[in-house]
């Protein structure tokens, strides 16, 4: 049975929390750049979801009689590629690939990386040393190179791209979370909780996880931008999703071969990547400033 006082306290806490959230969103949206980033992200998400309704043609429908058309010619908004496929529709469907790979790969990296970081930071000692050496080893590869090597071994495909980019994301998350755990672990109130006999799991999930969440969200947001670039890079090198699936990276690669005849394909697919990544970065910057301006990321 709760006393009146407890109920009052709970109300007060809820109110404070709501107020804090409110000021966070207000801060975020007052930042014009962050708002612009959010709009770009929303457009991207809506495009990906409603791709079948937005696209004017089936993305993989070829028409050898209508190759390399310019923008606006015979009903093709942005023209056609060398197989006569509608560029606009492929860009629209390409948003799906970018988004799926971007988010899934970061989730993959975040889940495994955070788990490693949590275990490493919390347990410390020899386990920490071993895990961190492995992370150091993984970090010794330039980001894109690790993904490339994994893709060569795993073979082309959407799922493999997620794994390859996800694995390259693990070290970053592991280091971030470990650092957070270490700094929270030293805090006085954790000492107190421990001295009161709280169990490991409880300390981890009641205290350490909530405290690490803000920088994690910011880092994850920025990582999605990186993952989208990575997917496009892999596809550009012919190591990403399998043709004929429309990916901005593979479209750019195809466009590269017809640069003189039809510069549109390469230009547009690259612009799509740039605008998307820029939007996410704008939003990520704003998110960081709104959550904690002093955060070093």
């Amino acid at each position: 049975m709760k006393t009146m006082e407890e109920i009052e306290n709970a109300k007060e806490l809820q109110y404070l929390k709501a107020k804090k959230e409110q000021s966070f969103f207000r801060k975020l949206l007052r930042n014009r750049f962050a708002a612009l980033g959010l709009i770009i992200i929303l457009i991207l998400i809506l495009t990906a979801i409603f791709a079948p309704f937005i696209a004017t043609h089936p993305p993989n429908a070829m028409d050898v009689t209508k190759t390399l058309l310019g923008p606006g010619e015979s009903g093709h908004l942005l023209g056609t590629d060398s197989y006569g496929r509608d560029i606009f529709s492929r860009i629209v469907y390409g948003a799906r690939i970018s988004l799926i790979v971007g988010i899934a790969a970061v989730l993959f990296g975040a889940i495994f990386g955070s788990l490693l970081g949590l275990v490493s930071g919390y347990l410390g000692g020899r386990i920490d040393a071993i895990i961190m050496r492995i992370i150091d080893g993984m970090m010794a590869f330039p980001f894109i190179l690790l993904a490339i090597v994994l893709m060569t071994v795993l073979g082309q495909g959407l799922g493999n791209a997620v794994i390859a980019i996800g694995v390259s994301n693990i070290p970053g998350f592991a280091r971030l979370v470990r650092g957070q755990v270490l700094s929270v672990k030293e805090a006085d109130y954790i000492e107190v909780t421990r001295s009161l006999g709280a169990k490991h799991g409880r300390i981890l999930f009641r205290h350490i996880v909530p405290n690490s969440i803000a920088p994690l969200i910011v880092y994850a947001t920025m990582s999605v931008a990186g993952a989208i670039i990575s997917e496009a890079s892999l596809s550009f090198l012919g190591l990403g999703v399998q043709p004929p699936t429309a990916s901005w990276g593979s479209m750019l690669q195809e466009g590269k071969d017809f640069l003189v005849l039809s510069p549109g394909l390469a230009t547009i697919s690259g612009l799509a990547i740039l605008v998307t990544v820029l939007g996410i970065n704008l939003f990520g910057d704003g998110l960081r400033d709104a959550l904690d301006p002093k955060m070093k990321l």
Partner: protein, 320 residues
């Protein structure tokens, strides 16, 4: 300092060991017999068996691993099937080219990015600041392979000013060398330039708010000295870390730039080897890059100490 260096070099060993393990097992993840994959579908069973034998694939796994480690230490990377020459020679032939590209990109990035960041910080909240900030945000978001393609389209195809493929030679004069270098190094420099500008801007802003800047002004020093001596040296510390990281990224990130501009470096070597399914080359080139990466990080750590006397690297806290 000597002790610190020695310790840091000792610390490299486990990292390099892990790197070797990772690469070894990733390449062993290849489905099927690597020898068969590398030789391609036309290869006869005898050829495959012979090549397996040559690669030591018939040995037990742990033997294979230790042989492989032993060869690495001896700098013996084996032979490339597709290039028909020792891989060590192949790497040594390509590596300097990548270094040239990476260093040019780094120089561009420092020359443009650092002053831009200082300027933005000095003129905080003015038009110039917004201009630089916006540009650097676009820069860090840039898919450089696209930028590379666009540069090639505009400056080579449309204007015909600069070549867009291959590497020039100093034997044909300085211009031949430089003209081939310009486009790829600009493409490669974009992200680091933008990143340097952002980092320098924010760390300058942080530094300028410190008391010792007020002291420097109160002493009657010229503003130029206050900014470029007192503030900059403090603001450089984060830049150094990022520069080291970026330089290693440039070596790896050159994969894309080198592919676009057919620059005969390590990146192009890897991509070509992947196309030819020459995994032995891929494996060893990747290891080589990883080693370089780790060594650069060591150098950055050492420089860190030189720039910032306050960091005591002999304690365990130092050496990020």
């Amino acid at each position: 300092m000597k002790r610190f260096l020695f310790r840091r070099i000792l610390q490299l060993i486990p990292t390099l060991f892990i790197v070797a393990i990772i690469v070894f097992f990733i390449t062993r993840m290849l489905p099927g017999n690597p020898a068969a994959v590398m030789l391609g579908p036309q290869a006869s069973a005898e050829d495959i068996a012979a090549y397996s034998e040559q690669l030591g694939l018939n040995e037990p796994l742990h033997r294979q691993f230790f042989d492989y480690l032993g060869n690495l230490v001896k700098f013996d990377f084996g032979n490339s099937l597709s290039y028909n020459q020792p891989i060590a020679d192949l790497i040594m032939e390509r590596f300097p080219n990548t270094v040239i590209l990476a260093i040019s990109a780094l120089i561009i990035a420092v020359i443009i990015g650092v002053p831009a960041g200082i300027l933005a910080a000095k003129k905080q909240n003015t038009f110039l600041d917004y201009f630089i900030t916006t540009f650097s945000l676009v820069g860090v978001s840039m898919p450089i392979f696209w930028l590379g393609v666009m540069l090639a389209l505009y400056f080579s195809v449309n204007l015909g000013w600069l070549p867009s493929t291959g590497m020039g030679s100093l034997d044909n004069g300085l211009w031949d060398f430089l003209s081939h270098l310009i486009l790829p190094s600009i493409a490669l420099a974009t992200i680091p330039t933008a990143q340097f500008a952002r980092i320098i801007r924010s760390s300058m802003l942080e530094t300028i708010s410190h008391d010792y800047i007020k002291t420097a002004r109160s002493k009657g020093l010229r503003e130029f000295i206050v900014i470029n001596k007192h503030a900059l040296k403090n603001a450089l510390t984060p830049l150094l870390t990022v520069m080291g990281l970026q330089f290693s990224n440039l070596l790896g990130g050159a994969v894309l730039t080198e592919t676009i501009f057919s620059w005969p470096g390590m990146g192009l070597l890897i991509v070509n080897a992947i196309e030819k399914r020459d995994f032995v080359v891929v494996q060893n080139t990747v290891i080589f890059i990883a080693v370089i990466y780790v060594v650069i990080n060591l150098i950055v750590d050492v420089l860190y100490k030189v720039v910032n006397p306050k960091i005591n690297l002999d304690s365990d806290k130092g050496g990020a």
